[in-house]
Subunit: 234 residues, 2 copies
């Protein structure tokens, strides 16, 4: 860093701010995608669902752009450890955001099929509670990225377990429906895929929360291991 | 690079070789995990399935180690574009390999439940063909990484479409089974999750193949866009 001129230093800080705000813009878009997919599922608003499906292209492009900016930063500057951690956190976070975008698209597609089919055998399954926890996790993860403060990961892990349990409960309910009335099988499978997608939104949100811990504390908390404890090679 | 002493340069090349061979070792392990999970599903070998489930921890640790080595390389050296592309390719590839490892674990867990349940209502569904294509895609992607030659992506895209179609066909078959005999529903859902996991192995393998194109040609081919065509910001 010592070798930087004042001009380069300013430029460098602008670039770091850009990738940081890029994650938040992409995060905002992805949150909207998930919320709209779930709203469309609830209300049967097909136009909204189509918007979500079309909107995924924009999510994908944002990832490419932010990745590209990260590559430029690393290529142009010799990064200090803390800045390098930011770049790595950004690259990993946008990859998870992109996958959350994919899940939103899957939810929208399944909701579309459910609402446009003539069948009236849609089972009464409430996915609202788990959807609320999963989107709450995503919001909290982005918020902690924005503040560059790592929240208590115990809390997000508890929420992740809640979403997982809620998925298992939904699956049991759906199996009961299918057994009682085999005509509901196709709709039940759509709902199962939607429940699975909600669960995965929670998983990806937890990944992002863990990257923020790495960013803030310089410690890799994935798989419940700190870097120190995995230093020994196999 | 010009500023490097001969010693640093040698050291640097050793480090690049290490992350390159790390990907191949991790890839080999992940391939074995998938193959063993599928073998256990076929034969009902519960000990082998347990090995796969336990082995996922090693896959996760390998990702952490390789990520860590990448961070060190980027922190220590001012990388030329081609070397930076290698590091980025490695970071992304091990993330997909780790997720393939997760899919192998899911297959093993579902196979365990299928084979240890008392139910004898397991439907006759052949997942062998799609499993063979998906594992073939993974092998080809790792092979093209090893040779640092990007294969024809049209071929891997065709295979990915085959796996996707095969998943859809399996789903239709399973729906028929479930409708004809609701007692098969639980086993059918396990098989559905396994079929989905196989499909995702193919997706991740395709991602890796695309990173290799980026590595070799310096062009981002994800989402069917070259970097040139996404240069315009939103």
């Amino acid at each position: 860093m010592a070798k930087m001129t004042e001009h380069t230093f300013k430029q460098f800080n602008i670039e770091l701010d850009e990738i940081r705000s890029g994650v938040l813009r992409m995060g905002g878009l992805v949150e909207a995608q998930v919320t709209n997919a779930l709203a469309g599922l609830r209300t049967g608003d097909l136009a909204l669902l189509d918007e979500v499906i079309a909107g995924d292209k924009r999510v994908n492009l944002m990832q490419l752009e932010i990745d590209d900016e990260c590559n430029h930063i690393v290529a142009k500057h010799q990064l200090a450890a803390v800045d390098l951690r930011l770049v790595m956190t950004v690259i990993k976070s946008v990859s998870d955001l992109e996958r959350i975008g994919d899940e939103a698209k899957k939810i929208a597609k399944a909701a579309r099929r459910l609402h446009s089919s003539e069948t009236s055998f849609a089972p009464q399954i409430d996915l609202g509670a788990s959807a609320q926890i999963a989107t709450g996790m995503l919001h909290a993860a982005l918020d902690s990225f924005a503040r560059a403060e790592s929240d208590d990961t115990a809390s997000i892990k508890r929420q992740d377990a809640e979403v997982d349990n809620s998925f298992k409960a939904t699956m049991r309910q759906l199996i009961t429906y299918m057994m009682e009335d085999p005509r509901t099988i196709t709709s039940c499978l759509e709902l199962l895929f939607i429940a699975k997608a909600i669960e995965r939104v929670g998983d990806h949100a937890m990944n992002i929360a863990e990257y923020v811990v790495f960013l803030v504390q310089g410690e890799d908390v994935r798989y419940g291991k700190s870097q120190a404890s995995v230093a020994g090679k196999d």
